[in-house]
Amino acid sequence: MRQKGSMNKVLMTGNEAIAEGAVQAGCRFYAGYPITPQNELPAYMAGRMPEVGGIFIQAESELAAINMVFGAAAAGARAMTSSSSPGISLKQEGISYIAGAELPAVIVNVMRGGPGLGNIWPAQSDYFQATRSGGHGDYHSIVLAPASVQEAYDIMPLAFNLADKYRTPAMILGDGMLGQMMEPIVLSQKAKVKSQKYRKPWALTGCKGRKPNIIKSFYMKEGDLEKFNLILQKKYKTIQQREQRWQDLFLDDARIVLVAYGTMARIAKAVVNKLREKGKRVGLIRPITLWPFPNSIFKRLAGKGRQIKFLVIEMSYGQMLEDVKLALNCKFPVEFFGRSGGGIPTEGEIIKKLR
């Protein structure tokens, strides 16, 4: 529900902000299947899509929903689906097909506790699935992790632009806390990234005036798939070089650097501010792109010769931790604190871990 305030400021849940951000980014096709804690998102789209001449479909399953997104993307629309962890597991085959057919699409995962049915509390335990090609085959999705309701709104044009630019799936990796939390946000004017229009000469429109277009991920002839996979790998390398994004705080003199993303990064930021007031030299790195992982900021820090202790904090039992270790190439000590399954690391627990 949108509650209008003064100017263009509105109070929204993260789920609704993602939906409205997608609409502003030109998303005109949404298909999804209900699952908590992301239900506000499809409900918002059900009302909003018809207002902007878009299409909303409540699909019969997660499988149908992601394959509808495949079809809408093949037809040239900006298309999106959303779900939460168990539902995202169901979508993995479709995401692999989208990557293999080089289609642009946005997938939102409002993460909850797992494994299995787990529970509906916030978690960050799908990091591996999101960043390591959760489906079959050698592919990657671009993964973006907003940390506030405002950022969840602002980041949507970027997600659609990157998906279109590289013809690849882009995932918004949030969690139940971000999805359910209400915050005042400023709409559209302050959106940091503008929607861009990309030509889609490959789209299925009917073959009038041109040769037929074929959307496929199937390469049976000997050698063809390997050739195609090398093209994909080249694309992923370009994305890794150009699209790393992060936010950092107090890295100039930090002796301890906290690393956290999404909801967890907000708690980490509060810890950093608290300890700074006490004169402790603590900093923060908040990856915004989880794939490509922002290796460059870690490499830059490692090159400075200063001894730094890193503490990775996650609502999981250590998934992004592996990327931080890889980025640092074992040059610095990396510690970890995480909880998952309903518990969220508190400021107190993190400060205790730092002692």
């Binding site: 005109r28 096709f29 298909a31 299409i55 479909i57 699909a59 019969e60 399953s61 499988l63 149908a64 929903a65 394959n67 509808m68 997104v69 495949f70 079809g71 809408a72 093949a74 037809a75 040239g76 629309a77 298309a79 085959e93 479709g94 097909y97 057919a101 299925l204 429109t205 009917g206 073959c207 009038k208 005036g209 037929p212 277009n213 074929i214 959307i215 496929k216 991920s217 199937f218 049976m220």
Partner: protein, 244 residues
């Protein structure tokens, strides 16, 4: 002598060699779809969805826009394409495993939404591409790679009549079951396919044509005997004609 050309390759069919087995029905149905597309003058706005199964590379034969779909999801892909581009004519081409086993959910719900689509359903009572396993439409007693003693209702249930099931749904406009076992039946199949496309052009709802099609390779019979088996055995379980 004044020669008149009365039969040639449709514009919508590419001039390429077939990968199908001798006596297979897919090539025939590919061709009559291409003929219908040409006759209705819709080649430049038709979009075909190929299945996973023997017809996975149907887009290598048709000369118009096509998409692949994951196994069983052709109607989900088609739903979205048609909703995004209602001016295009969108059809799926699916086998019995694709449409009536792994994709049953999509089949029922696409039909139930009354999507303005055309589904061409090839029923050959077997999984061809994977080596002749039991299909949902395999007949009782029929031997396959996974029913070596013949399909037993106690163990594997009965042949699934998905076309009859779909008649219950208000969103379904038209269902007809045809066969490829004789030239007359092929002509009827083409007529039914044409009707299913015309229905979409007239925006009247979901249409499905089920076509009984020979698979001599995995039925373990000659091409000629395969046609006889359709006529004498298969049509008893799957009666031909208008179903809705």
């Amino acid at each position: 002598m004044n020669l008149k050309k009365i039969y040639s390759r449709p514009q919508s069919l590419r001039n390429v060699a077939t990968h199908y087995c001798p006596g297979c029905g897919h090539g025939t149905v590919h061709r009559i779809i291409a003929e219908v597309v040409d006759e209705l003058g819709i080649r430049e706005r038709v979009i075909g969805i190929a299945p996973v199964g023997c017809a996975v590379i149907a887009y290598d034969y048709w000369d118009f826009d096509c998409s692949e779909a994951a196994h069983g999801r052709a109607l989900a892909v088609a739903t979205a394409i048609k909703r995004v581009r209602p001016e295009n004519i969108v059809f799926t081409y699916q086998g019995d495993g694709d449409l009536a086993a792994i994709g049953t959910n999509e089949t029922i719900h696409t039909a139930n939404r009354g999507e303005n689509l055309t589904a061409i359903f090839i029923n050959n009572a077997i999984y061809g591409m994977t080596g002749g396993q039991m299909a949902p439409t395999t007949l009782l007693g029929q031997k396959t790679a996974t029913t070596p003693k013949g399909r037993d209702a106690k163990l594997q249930g009965w042949p699934l009549k998905i076309s009859e099931m779909l008649t219950q749904l208000p969103g379904v406009k038209y269902i007809e079951r045809t066969s490829l076992h004789s030239p007359q039946e092929i002509i009827k199949s083409k007529k039914a396919i044409k009707q299913a496309f015309v229905n979409q052009i007239e925006e009247s709802g979901f249409s499905l044509v089920e076509i009984l099609s020979p698979c001599p390779t995995y039925w373990g019979v000659s091409a000629k005997d395969a046609l006889g088996w359709i006529k004498d055995v298969m049509t008893k379980e799957f009666p031909l004609g208008r179903i809705k």
